[in-house]
């Protein structure tokens, strides 16, 4: 059995990757993926917590979080489509009509 701390550690790494990706990548789809990674880091923590504390809650939380992530991706893609339809770009650096 893998110790909960290892799982949580993986979570830290994933969260870091996700966060760094979120602000370093221009492509909105990639950023969306990074967000997914961050959410997965949280899922790992829930799982680790469930293991550590021996409660089921963590598993449930993780399952629901996955559902949230799915919804988020769906909504995200839809919104990005609408961005694309008006500005023909999904680069976050180029969609800057709104600023200052």
């Amino acid at each position: 059995m893998i110790a909960a701390s290892w799982i949580a550690g993986l979570g830290v790494i994933l969260f870091g990757i996700g966060l760094v990706g979120a602000f370093s990548r221009k492509n909105a789809i990639v950023v969306l993926m990074c967000i997914e990674v961050m959410l997965n880091a949280a899922n790992l923590n829930f799982v680790a917590g469930a293991l550590h504390h021996g409660s089921v809650d963590g598993w449930v939380f993780a399952a629901i979080a996955i559902a949230i992530a799915a919804a988020e991706v769906a909504i995200g893609l839809a919104i990005l489509l609408s961005l694309y339809s008006t500005q023909e770009t999904i680069s976050l650096d180029e969609a800057t009509l709104l600023k200052h």
Binding site: F23, V31, L92, T96, K99, H100
Partner: protein, 773 residues
């Protein structure tokens, strides 16, 4: 003269006004109970004239029937005069029980905190209120007479003078309203029973002086002169105000009755410090200097002649300028050590005398070169007032050194000179006004024929009806005026037996007396006024000769004639007053009466003849040999040297065939006998130039102000807009800059937002870690 008969009809309107006092007398009322009428009636009348005049401006009835308010003003002043005479009569017959009436009401009541060494508490006594009451003594009685009498007469004069000048059309209501307002100030100041109200009325006079000097407001010179007069006197007034504050702090009251009761005891029984009191009195004196146009605040008076001539006559010669003298005269109880005054204030008297002496001499010198008839009179006024100041200064010194008797004599003499001078100078100004008026009319008459009005305007401006160089030989054309002016000049010069002689003699004599009795510092003023006596003889004679004697220097003199009926009457009345009144009063002991040494005007138990001989003997042959010489020198200078010098330069007989009334005619012929001396060299000298420029005082003041106050004010305005407000604006503009900067942070790229939030989060963690570590 049908026209003038119609004019006199207007006087019917005066009857209701003049009937009031007789009615009250019949009702058995007391004059002091009704003294408020003197001030109140003009107070009610002046807004009526102003507003009615503005509403019915140019309306036929208003112009012709009411003389644009002149008749109403005359009525009000007539009522004041009658009430004043009633009061004076009562005083002269029943005093001293009438000395003063208590304050009928408290105008301002209040409390003051005092410190008793341990703590503060509301003062139990003293410092409680200001009121307004009536205060009568010989001084105020004399001034009341001068004020009411001259106000009435000069108003009478003005009705003729002002309403016949086309330039005043539709603005005379302004004149009369302001004139009446002025009379409120003068009457009130004379009657008020405390220093505060004295100051209040004093300021009202200042206002009217301003308004009336600026009567021809469109003229730059008039507006400038008005401003100058107001501001210069304001400087004095402010010091006067400080003096009042100090007096109030010392005595806890400004009521004459309280203060004069025991001048050496202050509020709460404190002993009055001579140094403090002297400072207070000096402050008051600065106020007096401003009002009476003494050096160094004298610059406004000559310019004040921009006002209409009746104004010059009343305000700037006969009444308002006396306010300063009145104020100094009121200081006597403080310094009179024989009657409980505070010792150790000799310097006050010396300062007053020196200021007087300097001004007297300086003004007389400047008067030498003036060609404007009113300017000569203005400087003469200044000089004569300075005489009185010198006398009062000597009196203050004598009182303070314990020499009560001599002090009282010179004090009385000074006040008597005030009276004589007011009468004479009022008349002189009216006479000069008569001359100016008629010359002006003659000029208009000459230039009107066939001219269109535009040209008229131009010539109107070029011609100076006041310049004596345009006159000469008017004696035959204007007999009444010439005589009046002659008598007035004589009085001012101090020709023996005529009004001013009696008082001037006393002033000069007693100033020298004070010098002989220890006031070494008074030598200067004594010499100065002695010299001035001779100079007065010169410039007054010069004025008269230039105007009335010799041959006409301008064609228009031919067309001059005394036509206006309202003008002559006051001249005649005042001529009599000047010629005989001064002598008469001197005989009746005016000097003793005015110095409060005697309770009544009387012959002191002698017969009239005895008293006349006594007075004459006393004047010409005083017992003190030193004073006898002084007296003779005075007479020599004033009577002989001055006029003869003037006659040598300016005198001349009338043109062949012209006739004036006998005395005048004789005088002009006499002046012609001294030949004519050419003084062109002297007239072109630097000294003459300096005198023409009024010894550069005006330039000096203006220069200083222009170089200090004006840039300073501009700097202050700049400072306020750019530094104080600039700081606020800086906050605003810096905020705006900051705002633009901070908005740049919002780049529009979501990546940056995330990055910034991440950095923010990290720094927050670092911070928390730091705080907790």
């Amino acid at each position: 003269m049908g026209e003038s008969k119609q004019e006199w009809d207007r006087l019917l309107y005066l009857i209701p006004f003049l009937a009031v006092v007789p009615y009250l007398i019949i009702q058995g009322e007391s004059s002091t109970d009704w003294a408020w009428l003197i001030v109140a009636v003009p107070f009610i009348i002046f807004p009526i004239i102003a507003i009615a005049g503005q509403i019915w401006n140019g309306h036929d009835t208003w112009v012709n029937r009411f003389k644009e308010g002149g008749i109403i003003a005359l009525g009000a002043l007539g009522l004041s005069l009658s009430a004043g005479l009633w009061l004076i009569y009562d005083y002269l017959t029943t005093q001293p029980s009438l000395r003063f009436t208590p304050d009928p009401w408290s105008w301002l009541s209040f409390d003051v905190l005092t410190y008793d060494g341990e703590g503060w508490s509301v003062a139990a006594s003293g410092f409680d209120f200001f009121g307004l009451g009536l205060y009568l003594d010989p001084l105020s009685i004399m001034l009341l007479f001068v004020a009411t009498f001259l106000c009435f007469l000069i108003c009478w004069f003005a009705v003729g003078y002002m309403t016949t000048d086309s330039i005043n059309d539709n603005s005379n209501h302004r004149f009369f309203a302001e004139f009446v307002l002025f009379s409120i100030g003068m009457f009130g100041m004379v009657l008020a029973d405390n220093f505060l109200w004295l100051f209040i009325f004093w300021e009202i006079m200042g206002l009217c002086s301003y308004l009336l000097i600026g009567f021809y407001y469109w003229k730059k010179s008039a507006a400038y002169a008005a401003k100058k007069a107001f501001l210069t006197t304001r400087v004095g007034d402010v010091f006067l105000l400080i003096g009042l504050l100090m007096l109030y702090d010392i005595y806890g009251s400004l009521d004459f009755s309280v203060v004069f009761d025991d001048p050496s005891t202050g509020v709460g029984g404190a002993v009055v410090s001579a140094a403090k009191l002297q400072t207070a009195l000096l402050m008051l004196f600065i106020g007096a200097i401003g009002k009476s146009a003494q050096f160094p605040l004298h610059v406004w008076l000559p310019d004040a002649m921009e006002g209409p001539t009746p104004v010059s006559a009343l305000i700037h010669a006969a009444t308002m300028v006396n306010a300063g003298l009145y104020l100094v005269a009121r200081m006597v109880p403080f310094v009179d050590v024989a009657n409980g005054g505070v010792a150790g204030m000799e310097d006050l008297g010396l300062i007053v005398a020196w200021i007087g002496g300097i001004t007297a001499f300086m003004a007389a010198a400047i008067a030498f070169v003036q060609n404007d008839i009113k300017k000569v009179l203005a400087y003469s006024t200044m000089s004569q007032l300075a005489y009185i100041f010198t006398g009062l200064g000597a009196a203050l010194w004598l009182f303070n050194t314990g020499n009560h008797e001599a002090g009282a004599l010179v004090f009385g003499g000074a006040l008597f000179h005030l009276f004589n001078h007011a009468m004479a100078k009022g008349m002189l100004f009216m006479a000069s006004g008569s001359v100016i008026h008629e010359v002006h009319h003659a000029h208009d008459y000459l230039h009107h024929e066939g001219d269109d009005s535009e040209h008229d305007h131009a010539s109107h401006h070029d011609f100076d009806a006041q310049d004596m160089r345009n006159m000469g030989g008017l004696a035959s054309k204007m007999p009444v005026t010439a005589t009046a002016m002659m008598l007035g000049s004589m009085s001012i010069i101090g020709i023996p037996l005529i009004g001013g002689f009696w008082s001037k003699e006393v002033i000069i004599g007693k100033t020298w007396y004070a010098y002989f009795h220890g006031a070494d510092a008074l030598l200067g003023p004594a010499l100065l006024i002695l010299a001035t006596a001779g100079m007065t003889g010169f410039y007054m004679s010069r004025m008269w000769f230039m105007t009335f004697a010799g041959e006409p220097r301008n064609e228009l003199v031919e067309h001059v004639h005394e036509a206006t009926p309202w003008i002559k009457t006051p001249l005649i009345v005042l001529s009599i007053m000047t010629a005989l009144g001064g002598f008469g009063l001197a005989v009746y002991g005016a000097v003793e009466f005015l110095s409060a040494e005697a309770d009544y005007l009387s012959l002191h138990g002698h017969t009239l003849l005895e008293q006349i001989i006594h007075e004459v003997e006393h004047a010409f042959l005083p017992e003190d040999m030193q004073l006898r010489y002084v007296g003779w020198v005075t007479i020599l200078l004033a009577f002989i040297i001055g006029p003869i010098m003037a006659a040598r330069i300016y005198g001349g007989a009338l043109k062949e065939g012209e006739q004036a009334i006998p005395l005048v005619h004789w005088l002009t012929s006499l002046s012609g006998k001294f030949g004519s001396q050419n003084v062109d060299d002297l007239a072109n000298s630097e000294l003459a130039e300096a005198l023409q420029q009024r010894l550069y005082f005006d330039d000096l003041y203006e220069g200083i102000l222009a170089r200090t106050i004006v840039p300073f004010a501009a700097f202050a305005a700049w400072f306020d807009a750019n530094v104080i407000d600039g700081a606020i604006k800086q906050i605003e503009s810096k905020s705006v800059l900051g705002s633009i900067q901070i908005r740049r942070v919002t780049t529009g790229s979501a990546r940056d937002y995330i990055l910034m939030a991440a950095i923010g989060t990290l720094s927050i963690f670092a911070l928390i870690w730091g705080v907790n570590a």
